[in-house]
Amino acid sequence: MRESQVKRTPSEPLLQRIVKILLDRREASLVILLAIMLVPIVARSPQFLSLDNINRILNDISILSIVAIGEFFVILSNGIDLTVGSIIAFSGMASGMLNEAYPNVPVVLILLLGIGIGAAMGSLNGLLVAYGKIPPIITTLGTMSIYRGMTFVLSKGTWVTAHEMTTTFIGFPRRTFLGISALIWMAVIVIALTYYFSRHTRPGREIYAIGGNATAAKFVGVNEKRTRFMVFVISGTLFGFAGSLWTARYASAVNEMATGFEMQAVAACVLGGVNFAGGAGAIPGVVLGALFLGVLNNALPVVYLSTFYQTLVQGMVVLLALIINTVVDQRKTRKLLAQRRAR
């Protein structure tokens, strides 16, 4: 309450401002953490930062970034979407089967099919959450089973293997443009579009409003139902798109594909400082979160840990990030309180 008497300080010293920005922006602290983590890794294996390896890491996290961004919008609206793996599986399976049955269909159409399937499945989620008023966790718990089951029905339990698909389709993620693979380009496009959407459009900002304070959002005329619906359409669309890419990249479509991938997506969001209570977080953080996971996975062999350690290490990092975020937040609140009393 005393703050009303505190005048704006027009010119803080530069260093102080930088420190303040670092403390305010979770993205910044993540970059620092990433840099700190890289030091011992690079010391042990200078190859880690070679162009080749960086390229490999980026290829690895492309699909994860796309999916994590989808999840981000849902968490931002104070929800959760567990259908990540199921939608990827259905769309991936459909893409593989389409390619197998009609080898002449161009890749673009296959991708559009994946996007369409994702959008449709996301719409159902959105309908149930926004208009059926079922909590997101329950809705997506149910539809994740349904969509996974539908994948089996679609495939009749069979797989689509590499030699049943065309080389154009499974080769396209590796085709390069300006020295960068198509897969990375796809991720970059998605990141750019969603960043623009979340930062520079009204519907994008309205997701922040709904997640931050749904009642207040309604007061300023934000259409809550439409926004919640839209959020799930976005996430579904991105998952569907990721499904097509997944099949092409890994050159196979199996019924169990991407099982449990929702956890990776959520983990990237948590690492990126996205608040589970909704209303706070940003695309750059999410992408950094995904990058963090990618570097981690890629670095395991460097520190002589088998890939079987991947889950364990990821879990510990996510837990650590959670604890740090919480402690920093609590300390900030306390500092604010102390300031209030300072006379």
Binding site: G132, G142, G149, V266, L322
Partner: protein, 353 residues
């Protein structure tokens, strides 16, 4: 004055309701609806397959769902308090790994049982301490520990399976009670359900669970040790997951790191299908027990009809959504009707005046 008016109106309302109203009330109760669905299912399957209503088959089928049903019991407490735990399948993997390793080192049946319980309990306690100690969202914390617990099993077991167990160890998950065809697992489940149900509905602890789920702050202002209750819930959840780990290992006599994958979601499904509100404060033991048998026998019946497991997944997913959607629609319908009646009444009064 206003209150007296209220009181009069309320008493009149109750009188007016009469038997017809109480009947609608009964049939809109979720447990009753579930029971009806269960009976319909039994009729349906017994008409389509002669093997469904076979005593031995019905008993034998419970092997397939007893462990999940057991885990649903403490999950009721957790969800009742507005919490969630998605690390339970990983706790099974961890305890199965611990049991397998201990067994390979020559530990006997009783020792294995104790180890399984201890590992589960410890894992649950850690969840509870992390969530309440740092005041972090339960879903985020158990998401992380989900990876950690299974990650430990994965790092240690890699692709291997632990398959050597002492002779008597198979009893818990495979045997029957005495000379009957009643599985030990089923009896254990029913006993635990009665105990946990008694605690939920007839004890101070149970009352506190409802209080915390309905109004966490009011519960705290009433002297309830909310943190302590939540920690106990998570520890119980760990204990029961450890138990399920023992039963599962004993039943399949093998422990891999990918054991029980996605069981957490199946268990949560049982609880929510049983009518426990995901926001806490509402639900009964009866509902969850019926839901457990309903889902279990649904799977069994569909198996008899040679329907693939995938159709089952779809059916159960759909059931879950309907389970939450239906009461909401009914509520809206009831409210609308009430509103219309009130408006009509008000209009009538207005014309009279």
């Amino acid at each position: 004055m206003a209150e007296q008016r209220d009181l009069v109106a309320k008493t009149r309302l109750i009188e007016e309701r009469g038997w017809r109203h109480s009947l609608t009330e009964l049939f809109t109760k979720w447990e009753v609806l579930l029971g009806i669905i269960f009976v319909l299912m039994v009729v349906f399957f017994s008409n389509l397959s002669p093997y469904f209503l076979d005593y031995f088959n019905l008993m034998n089928a419970t092997f397939q769902f007893s462990e999940k049903a057991i885990m649903a019991l403490p999950m009721i407490y957790i969800i009742m308090c507005g919490d969630i735990d998605i690390s339970i399948a990983s706790i099974i993997a961890l305890s199965a790994y611990a049991i397998g390793t201990a067994s390979a080192a020559g530990v006997g049946t009783v020792g294995l049982f104790a180890i399984g319980l201890a590992v589960g309990t410890a894992a649950g306690l850690i969840n509870g301490l992390l969530i309440t100690g740092f005041n972090m969202p339960a879903i985020a914390v158990t998401l992380a520990t989900q990876s950690i617990y299974r990650g430990i099993a994965q790092a240690a077991l890699e692709e291997r399976a632990m398959t050597s167990y002492p002779k008597g160890f198979g009893f818990f998950g495979q045997d029957f009670i005495g000379q009957t065809v009643i599985p030990f697992e089923l009896v254990l489940y029913l006993v635990l359900a009665i105990v946990m149900g008694f605690i939920l509905h007839k004890s101070a602890y149970g009352r506190r669970l409802y209080a915390i789920g309905s109004a966490p702050e009011a519960a705290r202002f009433s002297g309830i040790k909310v943190k302590q209750v939540r920690i106990i819930n998570y520890t119980l959840m760990g204990l029961f997951s450890g138990l399920a780990g023992i039963l599962l290992t004993s039943r399949i006599l093998s422990a891999r790191s990918n054991i029980a994958t996605s069981w957490d979601l199946e268990v949560i499904t049982l609880v929510v299908l049983g009518g426990v509100s995901i926001n806490g404060g509402k639900g009964t033991m009866y509902g969850v027990v019926i839901a457990s048998f309903l889902v279990g026998y649904l799977k069994f019946g569909m198996g008899l009809l040679k329907l693939s497991g995938t159709i089952m997944t779809i059916v159960i997913g759909t059931l879950l959504i309907i389970a939450v959607l239906l009461p909401r629609l009914l509520d809206t319908y009831k409210n609308n009707r009430k509103l219309r009646r009130q408006q009509a009444e008000a209009a009538l009064q207005a014309t009279k005046a």
